[in-house]
């Protein structure tokens, strides 16, 4: 992070303009990024714990290690923008502003959850935040993002669709079809590939003949950038620059963020496919430790700032868990509600 200005040097206030083409590197902003990443980390730590208590069930995919991508990219988005994510979407939902209690309640399967408990960890949805999930079909979200971009263009509305997906998804046919459609029709879509090097247990070299994913975007004439996904400011900068170009009417943009998941793919994974040394190498790049270290070095982060952040997060997570615990089970009589809108809206 050497080329970045020290926090003290930035004079701008934290009041953010998401449309700006570059990040405001104010102290407040950087603390906020740190806060956001920590918030995701701690929330998920708690989820993992709750999983062992069987409060959360099914598949649970942690974002541990990848927080910089959602935290950074989401800064480039405003309220009119849409987000389409994957089954590994807690980080995106939190960074997007979906309330933590509703997310936690969803993990518990409670009626107060963001999807009324119907979806669980893999299917967090929130209309208020234009957060379109939570899609557990790898590659399944990309065409949806194209469609949102199309609707925006046809309706003359501002905003864009940001679509997050893993490098594994890049092998699916929908990746190909979606990039072509978005580019052909010059739609406002930001494709963000979270290249965490593995698709479950399949290393990138076993899944792609061309392992530089960003290069693939070229064959659709989609402008692409590869960014260090363990550097939240770099991600924000790249996302802002891409979003800026999209908002200027230039059509889709592609971002590849190199990142890593520190933990298993899901809670059922013995991690036979990678060795500990590799994990440790990547852990050394932990985006949270990195930003914190840099802030500390540059004297911008004091012990009490961190304490404050920690205690805010602790309170928020505790509140989320309490909310989830206090939540109710949807009555069994409502089982088939939400198959059709008529019944869904009936109450």
């Amino acid at each position: 992070m050497s080329e970045r200005p020290k926090a003290e040097e930035t004079t701008l206030e934290a009041g953010e303009d998401f449309t700006a083409s570059r990040p405001h590197l104010s102290r407040a902003h950087l603390l906020d990024l740190l806060h956001q990443m920590l918030r995701i980390r701690r929330f998920e730590d708690r989820c993992a714990e709750l999983y062992t208590y069987e409060k959360i069930r099914g598949f649970l995919h942690l974002y541990d290690g990848e927080e910089a991508v959602a935290a950074g990219a989401m800064r480039a988005l405003g309220p009119d923008d849409w987000v389409v994510a994957t089954y590994r979407e807690h980080g995106h939902a939190l960074a997007r502003g979906v309330p933590m209690p509703e997310i936690m309640a969803e993990m518990f399967g409670k009626a107060e959850g963001s999807s009324r408990g119907r979806g669980g960890s893999m299917h967090i949805f929130d209309r208020a935040h234009n957060f379109l999930g939570g899609n557990a079909i790898v590659g399944g979200g990309l065409p949806l993002a194209v469609g949102i971009g199309l609707a925006k263009r046809m309706r003359g509305e501002p905003g864009l669709a940001a679509c997050f997906f893993g490098e594994g998804a890049a092998a699916e046919g929908t990746f190909h079809e979606s990039l072509n459609l978005a580019a052909l029709w010059k739609l406002p879509v930001l494709f963000v590939c979270e290249n965490n090097q593995y698709a479950m247990g399949t290393a990138l070299r076993y899944s792609e003949s061309e392992t530089a994913i960003a290069k693939k975007a070229e064959s659709y004439r989609v402008p692409a950038a590869a960014v260090d996904g363990m550097d939240v400011v770099a991600v924000e900068a790249a996302a802002r620059s891409a979003a800026h170009a999209i908002r200027a009417g230039g059509g889709p943009q592609f971002l590849e963020a190199a990142t890593y998941r520190f933990r298993a793919h899901s809670m059922f994974d013995a991690q036979l496919y990678r060795d500990k040394a590799e994990v440790e190498q990547w852990r050394a790049k932990d985006p949270i430790a990195r930003l914190r270290g840099w802030l500390e070095e540059s004297g911008a982060l004091h012990a009490q700032d961190l304490e404050e952040i920690d205690s805010r997060i602790e309170a928020e997570v505790a509140e989320a868990v309490a909310f989830a615990e206090a939540g109710t089970w949807e009555p069994v009589e409502d089982l088939t509600r939400f198959v059709h809108s008529a019944a869904a809206r009936r109450r």
Binding site: G117, R118, L132, P143, L144, G147, A151, T174, L181
Partner: protein
């Protein structure tokens, strides 16, 4: 009211699309060759000139991509009509149709509904062989979250689309390839129709023939023949395969006590099985004979006319099946 006018099934579909485009700026038509080519079956001919490239949107060959884009666009405020040329090609988009369109409302706990209409051609009879000729509408009718329409008459071709577009959830419309050229008369006032109920197309008292889409006319022809043998057949047009209008169907069979289901789809696990089963469940004690099925033979549709025709339900088989229910 002015008099009836001559028209075709294809023209009815086109009028319905045109009307929808005129009525609602959120509506657009998207699919392969709907624009410059004029539509694989010429349904959208002329619409590009009238409405422009944005609203009559030619797509690349990417069934999954553009169907998924239709879903996204529907969620984000548009009312897309997605055209998939032929039902066999829809398999390329099946993940989007089942895992997304049919599922999002539930998965999101009601947050996101998908007001999307997908039209596709279905059925055999044009010697297009084993990758272009199947009848999969009954198969799609298995999927919760979808509605499945099978317009057979000109009124329905003209009227179902608008009602489908007003539905907040995904609706699939299956157009039988042999109906496009079918002509008849239509009231100039013809407009939107309900998409909930089956319709009795001919009343009768001895046996009920249940059919839909391209097979409806075979059932009507069979009823005509049966009448000559002094058998009074009632003909019910299913119209909607999901949700099935069990009430209308069961009422007819409760009256006639005998039924023949006609379905161009393959027999095993077809919609014919569901209808038979529902009838057993609803009117078992009223039945005077096991329900008969006249279905597509379980073979990928063959190219030569004689084999293709042999693989499809035909009038004599329907007549024979109806007679069997009467012990004749």
């Amino acid at each position: 009211m002015s008099g009836m006018r001559e028209t075709t099934y294809r023209e009815c579909l086109r009028e319905a699309i045109r009307e929808a485009l005129q009525r609602d700026p959120r509506v657009f038509l998207m699919g392969e060759d709907v624009g410059h080519y004029g539509g694989c079956y010429a349904v959208s001919k002329g619409l590009l000139a009238e409405f422009g490239e944005e609203r009559i949107r030619d797509t690349p060959l990417s069934e999954a991509g553009f169907t998924g884009a239709g879903i996204g666009a529907a969620i984000a405020g548009m009312r897309p009509i997605v055209e998939i040329m032929t039902v066999n090609f829809s398999f390329l988009a099946l993940d989007q149709i089942v895992n997304n369109a049919a599922t999002l409302l539930h998965m999101s706990g009601g947050a996101f509904n998908v007001p999307l209409v997908i039209r596709m051609a279905t059925g055999a009879g044009r010697q297009l062989a084993a990758q272009h000729s199947h009848s999969m509408e009954g198969w799609y009718a298995h999927i919760p979250g979808l509605k499945v329409l099978t317009p057979a008459t000109l009124e329905d071709a003209r009227g179902m689309l608008w009602t489908a577009l007003e539905d907040p959830d995904p609706v699939l419309i299956f157009e039988h390839v042999l109906l496009y050229n079918r002509s008849g008369t239509l009231s100039p006032e013809a407009g939107p129709v309900e998409i909930v109920k089956a319709a009795v197309r001919r009343e009768g008292s001895d046996v009920t023939l249940l059919a839909y889409g391209g097979s409806l006319f075979k059932a009507l022809d069979a009823a005509e023949e049966l009448a000559m043998a002094a058998i009074s057949a009632e003909v019910v047009d299913l119209r909607v395969l999901r949700p099935l209008d069990t009430a209308t169907i069961a009422a007819s069979v409760a009256k006639t006590r005998r039924a023949v289901v006609v379905d161009e789809g393959w027999r095993s696990g077809g919609i014919s099985a569901e209808i038979s089963t529902r009838l057993m469940e609803e009117v078992f004690w009223e039945l005077d004979a096991p329900i008969e099925r006249v279905c597509g033979v379980e073979v990928p549709v063959p190219y030569p006319a004689h084999l293709e025709q042999a693989s499809l339900p035909q009038v004599p088989e329907i007549v024979a099946a109806a007679k069997r229910t009467l012990g004749r």
